[in-house]
Subunit: 377 residues, 2 copies
């Protein structure tokens, strides 16, 4: 009875789609679709006169579109959480990007992304405030014997006061993502510009490189059944970070090149890498941020000589929906572990992003909470 | 008889596709297709089990793909010219990006692009040489009362010798393109890094902004039937360039802020804007580059007081296929006009990109020829 009632309500709810759709901020200039309504539904439209079926594939669910007399298919998803989501179209069994959207790298592909307006979107909005720069960098990696590519955020004023030197945050993307994630859908530059303008964060440099196992030589994919965090995976990137990326950064930018002025953070796989790398190099980093990527335990700290003395911050965060339905393999309860870490005397912070899952809105908010805690000692 | 023979040869040629396809440099990391062979054919592959037909749409021609027993469609185009081309897939009438390619902005959309290896690709290859940076800039435009977005290339050494100041080239994209064109498919940064490393060009700053009429307020689209170059179109961007972009650049970067150290160039629509804007502001720019966008005549110079005295270079270029089949509305023969300009005493150069059309390979080569001529007076 309860199930039947729920089914009926669900159908009613679908029929009552709120007709206040607006072109999305992630729709290509000059195009009308994709659109988003106040419920967070995504409506797409594509001309495909000869197709059998067209679907929008978002949040691991496919929703059917309907064809009109001109061969144009239109349809919408169920309401989505606030923030950014990857999606694609399915046209007669072909998974393809929506030709109306902007493109982002995630789920191991360049493809469509959609922005659902969030109640707190002001913190990553483009405003008329002093702006830093996101710089595209090519450099040679001795460790990998190849050219590499990263993005570096320099804060407002970096090119004005040429005597000033800055701390550095090394900020990593998740699995199936790359160095474009944080500067693009992560909106790192805009978050920092706004925080700095409001006096909430100190200006610092942010290096966003590619931590994927596919970029390392030898290809250090974690072995089947290996436990999390996969040490080989993290260690492949650790070599590159310690031997190539940090020296390149300290050479190319006006950094304060010591462990007290260096932070590392990452999301999901990047959080696991952050944990493994900062525990293995307690003299290299003083500030640690793990977003949706596990936590650091009192035992981890006890097993790592030097970590407690050097560490200034351990910041752990999750989306609320991740905690409600905790992903396997992330160890114990991260909130409890972080509280124990704080009780043990470390400056440990735990943050929960409300009503978001393992997605970019959780990570934008995590950066927004994390950045003001950095380099203030 | 001749036609029949040609038709037969064409079919034979198609049947004898050379089977040396390799994954393209513009294919997404980890994907196999799109591929390119030594003839310059583009082979694509996409799973679309329920589709009636799938085509690759490139160079204004659609080529049918063939379905295998697993519902995977594969097929290739006729040979394409060397260099970069936009393309798309057609799945049952839906024009969509190829899910295997990287994405570029052109033809007024973000979509697929493909790189056909060129005999001269070394000049824009990624090498282990000192690299400049391409910086993403947000700034407020008083003229348009809006935030704007551009890319700025700073040469190798810009962050090392902090007392040095640099000349500036303002470099514009074509119609249906945007500020991503030159730094992405134009490979501006790599072309300059290589030229500077070889001692062929002096280091200078390059500003790549958005010159589309859709970015200007009021929206100054050229009127129906208006002659080329469309003055309103160019003037809309001229206001933004003179009043916003140049002052922003001179404020944010270590420029030499005078007309003798300022160049403007552009491709197609950007070339027409360059002509209109440099003729209207002979004291602001000394070096002029028009790539596939017409030419400057002796009469233009005679009608523009001050231009002859201040100008250091007029560079005009085309792809050879454009000259063979000259586009209407570009005025007289650009080679003759440029020769007359040279005879009149100006430093005029005419360059023809061999075996290329109105496409990026012509413009990459034009930049490669143009840059060494700049700022050497």
């Amino acid at each position: 009875m309860a199930l039947a009632a729920f089914g009926f309500m669900s159908l009613t709810s679908y029929a009552q789609v709120v007709e206040d759709f607006k072109t999305s901020s992630t729709t290509q200039t000059g195009k009308e679709y994709p659109m988003v309504n106040s419920e967070g539904r995504v409506r797409v439209q594509v001309a495909a006169p000869e197709a059998h079926f067209v679907q929008i594939d978002i949040g691991a669910v496919k929703y059917d579109l309907v064809k009109d007399e001109n061969g144009v298919w239109t349809g919408e998803s169920a309401p989505q959480d606030e923030g950014f989501h990857y999606y694609q179209l399915n046209i007669d069994g072909a998974s393809v990007p929506d030709p109306g959207s902007l493109y982002y790298y995630g789920a191991s592909r360049w493809g469509s992304g959609i922005e659902i307006p969030a109640h707190d979107q002001d913190f990553y909005a483009l405003k008329n405030v002093p702006h830093g720069q996101v710089r595209e960098i090519y450099y040679f990696s001795e460790t990998n014997k190849t050219m590499r590519h990263c993005f570096v955020y320099t804060p407002p004023g970096y090119d004005t006061d040429l005597s000033k030197r800055y701390p550095v945050l090394y900020l990593q993307h998740g699995g199936g993502e790359n160095e474009y994630g944080w500067p693009s859908q992560g909106r790192t530059g805009l978050i920092m510009d706004n925080l700095i303008d409001e006096g909430k964060a100190l200006p610092f440099i942010i290096v966003m490189d590619n931590g994927s196992w596919t970029m390392e030589r030898p290809r250090q994919r974690p072995a089947q059944g290996e436990s999390w965090p996969p040490r080989n995976w993290a260690e492949g990137f650790m070599n590159t970070l310690i031997k190539d990326i940090i020296p390149m950064t300290d050479k190319s930018f006006r950094t304060i090149a010591d462990g007290k002025h260096r932070a590392m953070a990452g999301l999901s796989m990047g959080g696991m890498q952050t944990k493994a790398i900062t525990l293995a190099n307690p003299d290299v980093f003083s500030y640690v941020g793990i977003f949706s990527g596990g936590s650091i335990t009192v035992e981890d700290v006890q097993n790592t000589p030097g970590f407690r003395d050097n560490n200034k911050l351990v910041f752990v965060s999750f989306g609320s929906r991740e905690l409600e339905n905790r992903r396997p393999g992330f160890g114990g309860d991260p909130r409890e572990e972080t509280e124990k870490l704080k009780e043990s005397g470390l400056n440990a912070h735990f943050y929960v992003s409300p009503d978001t899952a393992h997605e970019w809105q959780s990570w934008r908010r995590s950066l927004y909470q994390f950045a003001p805690l950095l380099f203030k000692d």
